[in-house]
């Protein structure tokens, strides 16, 4: 749109205003937030990340957040301020896999190092405190940083037996009680992983504990960093946005940040040209698999899944599932264990009530029955209405 002056003027005006807004917010946060716990620059130097690499990373993050380059310095400030944002990290019905995935990257990139500086006022997996002491830490965080700390939740909430499937802490409160109390005094609630977002495997059929995601159980709106596990970049980026603009980024209709979950896997997939060409892997390890063809026929759920895995990839951007030869299983979508099954076949091959009863087989049987019924009706009609013409002639 270079040609249109009005348009480019409007765009640059918009970003100028946004920049003002960003400055005001960063100044406000500077006043309100506690001093940094760790110096990011020291930590980066310690890990052998050069200043140049850090600048490169801030450029990438700025563009990932769909901002123009002028926001890069603001984003760098936000990254340096990362350790100043007080966070209470709660664990409910889950496997702690998301925390593990965030903490145990073997080649931590800048995002992971930034994440390491996170100021965890309370985190059940990594804190030293236990019992009443831990409980006090949480209460102190809620009192000291009322409406200023961010509540991060990992895990679903079981609703069965009045929530008694999950009791936590020295006072034996139910998970639902704790979640209610903490989210009420938090500035924002961020759900990490499919469990907290939509219930995940705990909520899959038959869901014995009647588990569900945070926003559904508490009736509050949450920022959903979906995935099993989600990408650390999506979490860090969302908090950086918060540290720049004082609010969460725009969300889609089920709470996922649009900058990360706005596009379908299928639409930015590197195997897409093979899909359009009609070149499919039909069996694991066949010729098509060796040539990197599309994984639709071995169950890729990319066409139904909104996420940026193909763009940001995992493990320091080394690879992602489709790149390494297995289809996407749709882990960022609500209820994916039920809706995406079977994971290694296309969706319409799901069995209805077990065995070979797929929609297509049921459809074929019904078609056969209908055809047979129609044929029988034709024969019966021929007998019943026989001689009708003669009768009418005599009328």
């Amino acid at each position: 749109m270079r040609g249109s002056d009005d348009y480019s003027k409007a765009v640059s005006n918009h970003y100028k205003q946004l920049m003002e807004y960003c400055k005001i917010n960063q100044e406000r946060l500077d006043r309100e937030l506690p001093p940094p716990r760790e110096d990011l620059n020291d930590l980066l130097a310690e890990r052998g990340v050069s200043r140049r690499d850090f600048i490169k990373w801030t450029s990438v993050m700025t563009s990932l957040l769909m901002l123009p380059p002028m926001f890069r310095p603001a984003l760098a400030t936000a990254a340096e301020n990362f350790s100043r944002l007080p966070i209470a990290w709660l664990h409910f019905a889950e496997c702690t896999g998301c925390t593990e995935a965030f903490l145990r990257t073997s080649y931590p990139n800048v995002a992971d190092i930034v994440l390491e500086t996170i100021s965890l006022e309370y985190h059940e997996t990594v804190m030293a405190a236990a019992g009443h002491q831990a409980e006090q830490n949480l209460e102190k965080c809620m009192a000291d940083f009322k409406k200023k700390f961010v509540c991060v939740i990992e895990g679903a909430l079981p609703r069965g037996l009045n929530g008694q499937y999950l009791r936590l802490g020295p006072k034996g409160k139910t998970a639902i009680q704790i979640a209610k109390e903490v989210t009420r005094s938090a500035a924002a609630t961020v759900c990490i992983g499919a469990c907290a977002c939509y219930g995940n495997i705990q909520a899959a059929k038959p869901n014995p504990t009647d588990a569900a995601g945070i926003s559904k159980v508490l009736g509050i709106s949450t920022v959903n960093i979906a995935g099993c596990p989600p990408n650390a970049v999506n979490f860090v980026g969302t908090l950086l946005h918060y540290l720049m603009f004082g609010g969460m980024p725009p969300l889609d209709s089920i709470g996922r940040p649009i900058w990360a979950y706005g596009q379908r896997i299928h639409d930015v997939c590197e195997r897409r040209s093979h899909y359009d060409a009609g070149e499919f892997v039909e069996e694991w390890g066949d010729d098509g698999a060796k040539k990197g063809w599309c994984l639709y026929n071995v169950g890729c759920k990319g066409p139904y899944t909104f996420a940026n895995c193909g763009k940001v990839r995992f493990n320091d951007s080394v690879s992602w599932p489709v790149m390494s030869g297995h289809g996407c299983i749709g882990c960022t979508e609500p209820g994916f264990w039920d809706t995406m099954a079977p994971l290694e076949k296309p969706i319409h091959e799901a069995s209805i009530g077990g065995g070979e009863r797929t929609v297509d087989n049921i459809g074929l049987v019904l078609t056969g029955l209908t055809a047979a019924g129609v044929a029988a009706h034709a024969v019966a009609s021929a007998i019943r209405h026989k001689g009708k013409d003669e009768e009418e002639k005599h009328d």
Partner: protein, 221 residues
């Protein structure tokens, strides 16, 4: 006994009918290929675009069907020849519907007197079919909107996004779309059979009526 030709369908209805039948036929064939694509082994990737073309044809005829359907609804309310929207509720006359069922089940030899354009069971079937078309249009437009983010598609996707969330994601939307494809197949078998059956039993030229617009009524009956 005299046989008198009666104009039954306007040209618009006939064109609409066959356009709809053609679209549905094309959509079923291309739809099943999209659901279960087989691999094209010959040739280089750069020269191939088979799935791409199939999707193109499917979406093209899908949009045709959208406009044909809107046109049909328009005719139902504003047709100059015969605005027939009331006729779709003929089945609400339960006594007549029961007699019609007996006629179909070959218990009664003659059909009941129809006061509407359609027989009662026919009206029920077509109401159901219109519902099916509506569902497959909405699910189809959602599947389309998920991949294109501009123009009418994006606008309609915004409107229908709550439907996607309500159903539980694109995967379910696609599954519903697939199930309804089978309902269309079942409809077509019964529908075409009934057209021929009416022709054979009542001898009023039902099959040709959709081509010529003329039904032959027997007088003095």
């Amino acid at each position: 006994m005299e046989i008198r030709p009666v104009k039954e369908w306007s040209a618009a209805i006939m064109i609409n009918h066959w356009a709809m039948a053609l679209s549905i036929f094309v959509l079923i064939v291309t739809g099943f290929y999209i659901a279960d694509p087989y691999t094209i082994y010959q040739g280089e990737t750069v020269d191939k675009f088979f799935v791409g073309n199939m999707r193109y044809v499917h979406i093209l005829f899908g949009i045709f069907l959208l406009f044909i359907f809107i046109w049909r609804l328009y005719l139902a309310f504003f047709s100059k020849f015969h605005a027939d929207w009331k006729d779709f509720f003929a089945w609400l006359d339960f006594e007549c519907t029961w007699d019609q069922i007996k006629f179909y089940l070959l218990i009664k030899k003659d059909p009941p007197e129809h006061c509407a354009l359609y027989g009662p069971m026919q009206s029920l079937a077509y109401s159901g079919l219109f519902f099916m078309i509506f569902v497959i249009l909405v699910t189809g437009l959602i599947l389309m909107g998920a991949g294109y983010h501009a123009g009418m598609t994006a606008f309609l996707y915004k409107i229908f996004k709550p439907v996607e969330n309500m159903l539980g994601g694109l995967a379910i939307v696609r599954y519903v779309h697939h199930i309804f494809t089978w309902l269309f197949i079942l409809f077509i078998i019964v529908h075409v059979y009934m057209a021929f059956w009416y022709d054979a039993i009542l001898k009023e030229g039902t099959v040709s009526s959709m081509i010529s617009g003329v039904l032959f009524e027997k007088e003095g009956k």
